[in-house]
């Protein structure tokens, strides 16, 4: 293989790796959101269907352990917080990754990508303009 085609191959590999990276992050967000929603369902059913004194079985890997309801809820809530944070971090990272991919492919940078959002009050004030 001569130098030219080697360079092309290298470049294409690089782009593919970057694209794969973006896809993996996206999938990771989906998986985490699935988990977050399942946790939310669990919290709801604990709140509505189980009395405070009852103990519930919690599954850890392959074993079920009996826990008090309050402690379980506390655990899940902590888990939720962790998940929220992780999803946020992934989303932030995703932006940089998409930018890098675009740059590699020679596409123009997305406009207004790095702006911080207006607050909800400000949006409300100029809503008439945006709904055109």
């Amino acid at each position: 293989m001569d130098g030219e085609s080697k360079r092309v191959l290298e470049y294409l590999t690089e782009v593919e790796v970057a694209a794969e990276d973006v896809l993996t992050t996206k999938q990771q967000i989906v998986d985490l959101d699935t988990k977050r929603n399942r946790n939310r369902e669990a919290l709801n059913s604990l709140k509505n269907e189980v009395s405070d004194s009852e103990k519930v079985k919690v599954c850890f890997g392959s074993v079920f352990i009996k826990f008090s309801k309050l402690k379980t809820m506390e655990m899940i809530q902590k888990d939720q917080k962790q998940l929220d944070m992780e999803i946020n971090n992934l989303r932030k990272g995703l932006k940089a990754k998409v930018n890098r991919l675009n740059e590699m492919q020679g596409k123009p940078e997305l406009r207004g990508y790095n702006l911080s959002p207006l607050s909800s009050d400000e949006i409300k004030a100029i809503n008439g303009l945006l709904k055109k």
Binding site: T34, N37, G112, L115, P117, L118, A125, L130
Partner: protein, 465 residues
């Protein structure tokens, strides 16, 4: 009868393709400046022909506008009538893309009874400055799998319910409170709809019905829209970037106006305090990274129609830090500045002229005229025979390019009337005898001026300044 009914139900509604009928304007064939990547002008490209030097100059300015380097500068395109001044300005507008604001107005447009000249000018200035902002919302987006609402047996009291939503990747159940149940039933949400729920406000909006449910009912309203089941996670973050002009923000904040002001187009005058407030707010947003300011382009055609007051306003306005690139065009030589008795080149005061980058356009050569006529023929859907093309080019050289362009569509009509497919020399001759050009018309005037009314203005040089 029964067969007829069946026919009616199985008949697929005809899809009628609506092609937009656009009127053909004088510069509708311009798609850009016709430059290559190195900013070198091509002889014929994107509807532009010739004028290589001025197009190259315009290209340099265009790049500077794109990089945001020359906000608050002004450019003057000067040249004889019919040498492509407006075409160059249109080319700049086309190559800037849809995101950079471009406002065009003619010099005489600012004279109106409802609005002062400076107000009209400042509105035009502010229309040419864009502000890019971002809106961010957390939404839950998914296809409704099932809604289950339990009403209490007594008829009163709190309702409870469950809503199952899915995307292509996941599915989950939400417990519903009273409020959500109410807004769901208000929106008439049912299984198979694709909905979004705004997390902050709880507002539900229906996007349409899922494709997989397209066969649920036989009869459906024409307004039913089918959409794909959403992909990815259920709880999404949506970011939308908007570009609005400063003038639009002015209008909604100008309190004496109702919110309808934007639609009626009649905005009246906007107080300078409102403008200052908006400027302060936008600058604050920019500092906080919430907004980007996009200086656009304001194009004033026939700029010699502006008077002394307008010119001094322009001088001042160009110095403001929120100022667009100003492009002006004029076909005047040394002439009186409107509203004064002083003569000045292009009818523009020397002090303003001093701030301008001046691009000159020169008359087209015969070859270029030929090419322009060819492009216009394509644009107006008229086929021209080789001889007719040559004749038309001669007419264009001897009278004016505009007159020759006028003859294209009229000759096309004559040709169609005699059921021909290609315009021949006879068609050109016919319209040439039907319509006078400027020189023949004035010749006619000189010969027969005694028989016209009000012919006392014998020395009548038209006062155009």
């Amino acid at each position: 009868m029964a067969i007829e009914v069946e026919m009616a139900t199985t008949k697929v509604p005809e899809v009628r393709d609506i092609t937009r009928i656009e009127r053909i304007g004088a510069h509708s064939h311009i798609r850009g400046l016709g430059l290559d990547d190195a900013l070198e002008p091509r002889q014929v490209s994107q509807g532009m022909v010739g004028q290589l030097a001025s197009r190259r100059a315009a290209g340099v300015i265009l790049e500077m506008i794109k990089d945001g380097h020359i906000a608050g500068r002004a450019v003057l395109i000067a040249g004889q009538p019919g040498t492509g001044k407006t075409a160059i300005a249109m080319g700049i507008a086309q190559s800037l893309g849809p995101d950079t604001p471009f406002t065009a107005l003619a010099g005489s447009e600012i004279f109106s009874l409802e609005m002062s000249k400076t107000e009209a000018l400042s509105q035009a200035f502010r229309k040419a400055i864009g502000v890019r902002i971002k809106e961010e919302t957390e939404i839950i987006e998914g296809e409704v799998v099932e809604i289950q609402i339990d009403r209490p047996a007594t008829g009163t009291g709190a309702k409870v319910g469950k809503l199952t939503l899915k995307t292509t990747e996941m599915e989950t159940v939400y417990d519903l409170g009273n409020k959500m149940i109410d807004s769901l039933s208000k929106e008439k949400v049912q299984a198979g709809d694709v909905i979004t729920i705004d997390k902050a406000t709880g507002k539900i909006s229906k996007l349409g019905r899922s494709f997989t449910r397209a066969r649920d009912y036989d009869a459906m309203g024409a307004q039913t829209q089918f959409v794909q089941c959403p992909e990815g996670e259920l709880q999404k973050r949506k970011e939308v970037v908007h570009t609005v002009s400063l003038h639009e923000i002015d209008v909604i904040n100008s309190r004496t106006q109702g919110f309808l002001a934007l639609f009626s187009g009649d905005t009246g005058e906007i107080k300078s305090e409102v403008r200052e407030q908006i400027n302060a707010k936008v600058c604050e947003w920019r500092e906080e990274g919430k907004a980007e300011i996009i200086p656009g382009v304001l194009f004033i055609d026939e700029v010699h129609m502006l008077d002394m007051e307008c010119f001094s306003f322009l001088n001042r306005a160009l110095e403001s830090d929120l100022s667009p690139v100003l492009i002006m065009a004029t076909n005047r030589g040394i002439t009186r500045i409107r509203g004064t008795n002083y003569q000045s080149p292009h009818g523009i005061p020397i002090d303003l002229l001093d701030r301008l980058l001046i691009i000159a356009t020169s008359p087209y050569t015969e070859k270029e005229t030929r090419q322009i006529l060819k492009i216009r023929c394509e644009e107006e859907d008229v086929e021209l025979s080789e001889e007719a093309h040559t004749v038309l080019t001669r007419i264009g050289m001897e009278t004016s390019l505009r007159y020759a362009i006028q003859l294209i569509s009229t000759a096309g009509l004559v040709c169609r009337k005699r059921k021909g497919t290609e315009v021949q020399v006879e068609d050109i001759k016919r319209v040439y005898s039907l319509f006078l050009d400027e020189a023949r018309s004035s010749q006619y005037m000189k010969e027969y001026q005694d028989s016209f009314l009000f012919n006392e203005t014998q020395t009548g040089q038209m006062d155009t300044s």
